[in-house]
């Protein structure tokens, strides 16, 4: 029994890691959503070739030999891009043994690289994929230090090779959470932050922190004797202070957002992205003028703490109206809820006095906009020709509560939507036992 089981699972692993075939596919008769903010196109076609989008829209010809999927009555969209999230870092978030979200007992923070910790076979990846999420930026959202380390951009394909880009950004906590871990106050956050950047700048000046992974540079230069940062942490921050690696700054309070923007005065090369930004609407003009993009938590409307007193669901709409480049992300729960959040922003456009997004912009806020903010707008996030063949077919308006996912393709490869949940559903559609116990139904 046992050897056979082993063989079977080895075969399953092989199947998972085998290079997947991207065939020519034409999805026809669908309502097509390009994802760039434009309105949905009825009766459209999407053609994929070599794992990439060849064409999408109305009047697109179906190439000879392409597998055709008739999507009458259905919608076709780019895969959802969720930035930022923590999927892949745990199997069950509340089960500590399975959770790699924080490393506050270790000596490193900025040097942490999340990519080796990501488990592509975690059920959260499979469930998110079945919810239409195809790409994500995985960030240390629950870091125990002000620097959470370096996040990764991943795809959610079932091939077991999730990393699109490792060490894609550095993550830092300003505000209440940062204050607690920096020593107890926001003043400490700003001192710790500036000291760290100065040490990284000094290391860079001495020729350190170079290479694809600056932590691993051979013959690293001497550092001053009073350095606080470990060598690894300092090296990891060199790409940040020199503008080669974006800095994702989580901040909520209007004053904290201003202080984040002010960092640019001291460290002009910083390439910042603001995360959360619950009170962003109060400083929307300054955010827009700075050009710093925002990945906002979309529906916060409660004074969850004293740094979010001005929370309102109209935050995203007001920031967008002021010209801030704003995508959705960091909504603190499961990435598969992204369409519901986007749909709510549309609903606000009908509420007197509220601000939301029109449908096209709402969908873009969970596809092309976060992709562009991640610096990957030319790789995925919309159905423009040449971009990755990340496509989702839905049984209705993708932002609507009752709609669901029919098919998912990543890089043109059709993905399995089977997971722990779907297997349980199938087993318990009829809850009572049959001729044998439920354990034999699989």
């Amino acid at each position: 029994m046992k050897p056979r089981q082993l063989l079977l699972s080895a075969a399953a692993l092989l199947a998972l890691s085998a290079p997947a075939m991207a065939e020519d596919v034409a999805i026809t008769n669908a309502t097509v959503v390009i994802g760039d903010g434009s309105a949905p196109i009825p009766g459209g076609t999407v053609v994929l070739r070599g794992g990439k989008v060849l064409a999408a829209g109305a009047g697109v010809a179906v190439p000879a030999g392409a597998r055709t999927i008739d999507a009458s009555g259905k919608w076709v969209t780019p895969g959802l891009v969720v930035a930022v999230t923590d999927i892949g870092l745990f199997d069950v978030e509340g089960v500590e043994e399975s959770n790699d979200e924080r490393a506050d007992k270790g000596p490193f923070n900025a040097a942490l690289d999340l990519s080796p910790a990501i488990n592509p076979l975690a059920q959260h990846i499979a469930v998110s994929r079945a919810g239409g999420v195809t790409r994500a930026a995985v960030a240390p959202l629950r870091t125990g230090a002000i620097f959470g380390g370096q996040g990764a951009v991943i795809d959610l394909a079932s091939d077991g090779q999730p990393i699109t880009q490792a060490r894609a950004f550095q993550y830092v906590e300003l505000g209440e959470a940062g204050a607690r871990s920096a020593g107890g106050s926001r003043a400490a956050v700003h001192a710790v932050l500036r000291n760290a950047f100065m040490e990284a700048r000094e290391l860079a000046r001495r020729g350190g922190g170079q290479g694809a992974d600056p932590r691993l540079q051979d013959a690293a230069p001497e550092r001053p004797g009073d350095a606080l940062l470990t060598r690894f942490d300092a090296a990891a921050l060199v790409p940040v202070v020199t503008g080669r690696q974006p800095l994702y700054v989580r901040a909520e309070r209007a004053a904290d957002l201003r202080m984040a923007l002010a960092l640019k005065a001291d460290f002009p090369a910083l390439k910042m992205v603001l995360i959360g930004a619950t009170e962003g609407w109060m400083v929307a003009k300054e955010l827009a003028a700075s050009g710093v993009p925002v990945l906002a938590t979309p529906l916060n409307d409660l004074p969850a703490n004293f740094e979010q007193l001005a929370a309102t669901q109209s935050n995203v709409g007001r920031m967008a109206a002021a010209g801030v480049r704003v995508g959705l992300g960091a909504f603190g729960d499961q990435p598969r809820y992204a369409p519901q959040y986007a749909g709510n922003l549309v609903s606000l456009t009908k509420v007197p006095g509220a601000s939301g997004l029109d449908w096209g912009r709402a969908f873009a806020a969970i596809s092309s906009v976060p992709a562009a903010i991640l610096g990957m707008g030319d790789k995925f996030g919309s159905l423009k020709p040449g971009l990755a063949g990340d496509v989702v077919i839905w049984d209705g308006d993708p932002l609507e509560n009752t709609s669901g996912v029919v098919r998912v393709m990543i890089d043109g490869v059709e993905q399995s939507l089977v997971n722990h949940q779907t297997k349980l559903r199938d087993r318990y559609k009829v809850p009572t036992e049959g001729a044998l116990p439920k354990a034999y139904e699989w």
Binding site: G94, A304, N305, A311, N344, S347, A354, T402, Q421
Partner: protein, 467 residues
């Protein structure tokens, strides 16, 4: 029926606790003051002072009406006056001359949304440590604590639940750290200076119990019982044994001192207090149902019940509701087998479904959560009509909270707790347009002054904002 009896019982303020008291009274001179207090106490010492606010006779005309009891009327009319539903019907229902007529073509009307599981007020925002009043996590059973003694009536969350969620009544529960967490309180979602001013008149008490990971983690972590699931059951059973003995003594008129904890437990055995039982796993729910038989009480509802779909037949037979999320999953070990078809499979089994929030954000979108569950059910081949889905948020929670005679559906004579939605409430694109509680207009999207602002938010950034 049972609920009516309960409510009648609650309405009489000073109740005699013991049927044997009449005989006892003959030798009253020998009874100590403590014993007298134990045998004859006021079951409602913090009574509701809620009074409906004034409203005008109102007619909602031309809407799609979901009545909360599974009924649907297209192009319908809803009449309410003096705080009560007067009539609902089709286009032929005449609107009396003195009614304010609101054209509602293209809009939808439902009863007020009811959340059976909320911690507004006992875990209010801002969520600072000083506001953490939901778990008396100092002993594994605390049936003596009452949530109403923790609820802060200035929680900003009440306003969001009203304006964005159309919530007009809600049950505030103690947390789930304890096996027996204490009494719940049911509120009207109407701000008041006092908690008594929010209490739903005549609502029975609930008693919060909890299975599984939380109690054993909290107390195991303190090096005391329970540290295992079997410990959970042992402590529960010991508590029920004590309660049974207390009740027998009480019924024999032999109590010598008051015991707040046992008064709550005995209230359950008397059928006056409803068990609201946090429990995730199917196997544990089945054990709790047997424990309820062992000691002669009823589990009114399992809360969270992420594996209820595995035992819909058992839950139906027990007459126990499942108060569930649409699709929360995988955040703790005992939620790993949650599936989004939970509601659909339960509904198909004929078991009672309630969609709950347990969350200050989720309470603003119970309608959306129900719709998600409906969509997932449909894809699994289970069709649940819209009007039936609305029941998951209205009459079903009202029934499981013992307030279904007063609210939960648009039935003549019931409280005029009414939501006018600007579209189908099961659509993500719809929001409450107006909300009435007991016929009083307490939220109007078109009127910024009909938007409650709690004391906490006064004079701070965002005061009176659209939220």
């Amino acid at each position: 029926m049972r609920a009516t009896k309960l409510l009648a019982g609650m309405a009489a303020l000073a109740l005699v606790a013991s049927p044997g008291l009449a005989e006892k009274k003959k030798k009253e001179e020998t009874v100590s003051p403590a014993a007298k207090a134990a045998r004859e106490f006021n079951k409602n010492p913090y009574p509701s002072t809620y009074k409906p606010y004034p409203g005008e006779p109102t007619a909602l005309v031309g809407a799609t009406v979901f009545d909360g009891a599974g009924g649907r009327i297209d192009n319908g009319t809803v009449l309410f006056a003096d705080g009560k539903v007067v009539a609902i019907g089709g286009a032929d229902l005449a609107v009396p001359a003195n009614y304010r007529r609101i054209g509602a073509a293209g809009k939808f009307v439902t009863p007020g949304i009811i959340d059976i599981h909320s911690h507004l007020g006992d875990y209010p925002t801002p969520s600072v440590q000083a506001h953490s009043d939901g778990n008396e996590a100092t002993a594994p059973t605390t049936p003596d604590v009452w949530a109403e003694h923790s609820v802060w009536p200035q929680d900003p969350g009440f306003s969001r639940a009203l304006a964005n969620g159309g919530v007009t009544a809600l049950q505030i529960l103690p947390g789930s750290a304890n096996l027996v967490g204490g009494r719940s309180v049911t509120l009207k979602n109407v701000y008041s200076r006092t908690i008594q001013g929010m209490k739903f008149p005549g609502a029975p008490y609930g008693l919060k119990m909890a299975c599984g990971e939380n109690p054993k983690r909290v107390y195991g972590g303190k090096g005391r019982m329970p540290s295992t699931r079997m410990g959970n059951l042992a402590v529960n059973r010991a508590t029920w044994i004590k309660a049974s003995e207390y009740r027998a003594k009480r019924n024999a008129g032999k109590l010598e001192t008051r015991d707040l904890a046992m008064e709550s437990m005995a209230g359950v055995l008397d059928g006056e207090i409803l068990i609201q039982n946090h429990c995730y796993r199917a196997d544990e729910m089945a054990l709790v149902l047997d424990m309820a038989k062992e000691f002669g009480y009823k589990v009114t509802a399992f809360h969270h019940a992420t594996e209820a779909y595995k035992i819909g037949d058992l839950l139906k037979a027990a007459g126990t509701c499942s108060a569930i999320w649409a699709d929360w999953w995988g955040f703790k070990m005992e939620s790993y087998d949650a599936i989004p078809e939970n509601a659909g499979i339960l509904q198909k089994a004929g078991a009672c479904v309630v969609i709950h929030s347990d969350d200050e954000n989720g309470i603003q979108r119970l309608n959306q959560e129900a719709a998600k569950a409906q969509g997932d059910a449909r894809r699994a081949g289970i069709e649940v009509p819209d009007a039936e889905v609305i029941r998951w948020l209205t009459l079903n929670p009202a029934t499981a909270m013992g307030i279904n005679q007063q609210t939960g559906s648009l039935e003549q004579g019931k409280m005029a707790d009414v939501v006018l939605w600007n579209g189908n409430p099961l659509s993500v694109y719809s929001r409450p347009d107006k909300v009435w509680v007991d016929g009083a207009l307490l939220f109007d999207a078109a009127d910024p002054k009909r938007r409650p602002v709690s004391d906490f938010e006064l004079g701070q950034v965002g005061e009176g904002d659209v939220k």
